[in-house]
């Protein structure tokens, strides 16, 4: 006769070491096994979409910094591309290259955090995390050179970027690319075949291909499930059609695949950076002439880019005034979270955080 146990409810979060922000999971547990899970969010809601309706088009850029605050450059890029598409603004050649360089550096920086935090969720006591942060620090230094900021960069502008690269930037970036190529391999050999990491993440939290597509999952999580979908290729924006890179895909869509896809993408980003470094024009304007009080023509636009989290889309409606009539954001973190419940049920409490960490959400983006 099986022993009957009584399930109990455990509130994980909103303040918890592994929820990566203020996320709350109302979990029904049967012993160690997760029977049911209900995500609760909204603790970080700042009304960014509403605030955007009161600001000028340029004034919205700092707000986008606060969406996915560990990938501010990507958010900047997503927003300015949307406005440029809406108003038909041309971007100078050099500015396009600077944007790609920033976006790819930001991708590396974000994936370093994500991989570090993921191994931390598996229970490694901060060691991988600290080493990842050591490398990320170099990227942050590069960003500080161009924008003066270390977290919320506010660097991109409508029609270009706020200022040209300083002299010392490109040599410093060369040095970083060279070092990072070695460090990625080092991290990879240390982590990839770690027996405990394999036991903890292989086959854990499988997201099947069909389910991933039906849930509108995007980014590394979708690619880990075996779908070859990268907006940089599928719907090229900026100048991504000029670069050679491979889309990383996983096989079964478990936590380990998601981790592998991210490590692979760090390598591909380095490849893009090397190409951009060679092709970047030596001089020229970095910002086209755009009036300070910018009036886009009446109309609406949806524009999307591939951020480290997935598809970040901006839907802007203009009524020819200085601020948008409506600014809707499609946050990849929120939409990737929708598959969490199906991935978690049946696993243990310990796996819950491994799976949650492998999805990689930033609460700033989920709650907006």
């Amino acid at each position: 006769m099986p022993i009957k146990t009584e399930p109990f409810v455990l509130n994980l979060g909103p303040v918890h070491p592994s929820t990566h922000g203020v996320f709350r999971m109302r979990v029904v547990l049967d012993g160690e096994v997760v029977v049911d899970m209900e995500p609760v969010f909204g603790y970080l809601h700042r009304g960014i979409e509403k605030l955007a309706e009161e600001r000028t088009y340029t004034g919205i850029i700092p707000l986008t910094d606060r969406l996915d605050y560990i990938a501010s450059m990507s958010n900047n890029l997503a927003y300015v591309t949307a406005v440029e598409k809406l108003a038909g603004v041309k971007v100078p050649e050099r500015a396009e290259y600077i944007r790609v360089i920033m976006a790819e550096l930001q991708r590396i920086a974000t994936f370093l955090i994500v991989v570090g935090a993921f191994v931390n969720d598996c229970g490694a006591y901060f060691t991988p995390f600290m080493y990842m942060f050591r490398e990320r620090e170099k990227i942050i230094d590069l960003f500080e050179m161009v924008s003066g900021q270390r977290l919320t960069y506010n660097y991109m502008r409508i029609g270009g970027v706020s200022q040209d690269l300083p002299e010392e930037f490109l040599p410093a970036m060369d040095k970083f690319i060279e070092q990072m190529t070695g460090y990625v391999d080092e991290f990879d050999t240390l982590l990839m075949e770690n027996e405990i990491l394999l036991a903890r993440s292989k086959g854990v939290g499988i997201l099947p291909k069909e389910k991933a597509i039906n849930c509108s999952i995007s980014g590394p999580v979708l690619r880990a499930s075996g779908v070859k979908w990268d907006i940089r290729r599928a719907d090229p924006y900026s100048i991504y059609d000029r670069f050679e890179f491979d889309i990383q895909t996983g096989t079964i869509g478990d936590a380990y695949d998601r981790y592998r896809v991210r490590v692979g993408e760090i390598r591909q980003s380095l490849r893009i950076l090397r190409q951009a470094r060679q092709q970047i024009p030596a001089g020229g304007p970095v910002k086209s002439k755009v009036p300070n009080l910018f009036h886009p023509p009446v109309g609406d636009v949806y524009s999307r880019i591939e951020t480290p989290k997935g598809e970040l889309g901006f839907y802007l409606v203009s009524d020819n005034s200085i601020s948008p009539y409506r600014c809707h954001i499609r946050p990849p973190s929120l939409i990737n979270l929708t598959a969490l419940r199906d991935m978690i049920i049946g696993w243990k409490v310990a796996d819950l955080f491994v799976i949650f960490g492998s999805i990689d959400v930033t609460m700033g983006e989920v709650d907006r």
């Binding site: 070491p17 547990l29 096994v33 997760v34 901060f126 405990i196 049946g346 310990a350 955080f353």
Partner: protein, 375 residues
Amino acid sequence: MTIIDLNISNLVSLQKGLPPDWPGGFWWHFLVFTSIVINAVLILVMAFIYVERRGLGRMQSRLGPNRTGPQGIFQPVADALKVLLKEDIVPDSADKVVHWLAPLIAFAPTLMIFAVIPFGNGWSLIGDLNIGMLYVVSIASVSTLGVFMAGWASSNKYSLLGAMRDVASVISYEIPLVLAVASVVLITGSLSLNQIVQNQDIPFILLQPLGFLIFFMAGCAEINRSPFDLLEADSELVAGFHTEYSGMKFAMFYLVEYAEALALSALISTLFLSGWRGPLLPPWLWFVGKIFFVFSVMIWTRATLPRVRIDQLMTFTWKFMLPLALINLLVTAVEVLALPENSLWLMIPVNFALTVALILIGSKSLTVGRGRVEV
């Protein structure tokens, strides 16, 4: 018939350093040496905390505490003072008495282990307790009761989950641990820790490599060191069983954690690394040095490895460590019977070959479950 021969000559352990007619007799001796042992443990625990924090810092490419005193050596003192001044918070729905008792019950047995550990030739509170190892094994698992009481009485779900994990892991890992000790005892033919050290002309890590590995891993699981630190899994259970503890009571649990690590290091040094024996330096210095060496290995594993899951922990002990420990015990028994006197060194090549072969076979055939349950 009394098993423990309680007489003063047996208990007065520092025979060499003390005058033969130590004033006051047995109780006086007992009082003095208890306080010496307790203080030694506390000081070593503080040193452990410092070494661990600095060592972890080094391994994680950061500095670790370096503000309090030169190189931060007073950090444990500052921490202890801070934690003593904190408010003692007891949850409203807690079982007050059990909540209060739990840290004491966890702490006392841990300290009692040190009564029999020899810091030099016969230098211990109860010098040559003839059932020393049996005493250690039986007293060591009592502190689990304290942990479970803490988890239960806190009326916090994190605490309860942590406590349940602890009980499950301790019950399972006790068995390979005792089997590993048994093979050492087979070689020496004595349960007295001092006798075990005296018999180690060759350190037993060479005679019992598999026993050493099993004892080390099972010990780490018993005292919840990484990668078996499931009961306080900070990324899952916040702080596990001591989530609801603060102030002095929290300090007690913190102390227990490191005192257990100290006890395990001391036991490993005694059983496998020839304890206080060593050339030139005084015995106690050798012993403390070996303790710190073993502890650094524990810091190293903590900085390196992710945590295993509860079902993997169970699979590992029942399907891998237990069979290996049993085979090791059997082979050792045969060797002890078959080998002629004074040819223990013959065990070295045999046991090393056996260790490599068994671990290879064992790890090939071990499959950890995927862990998913249909609900």
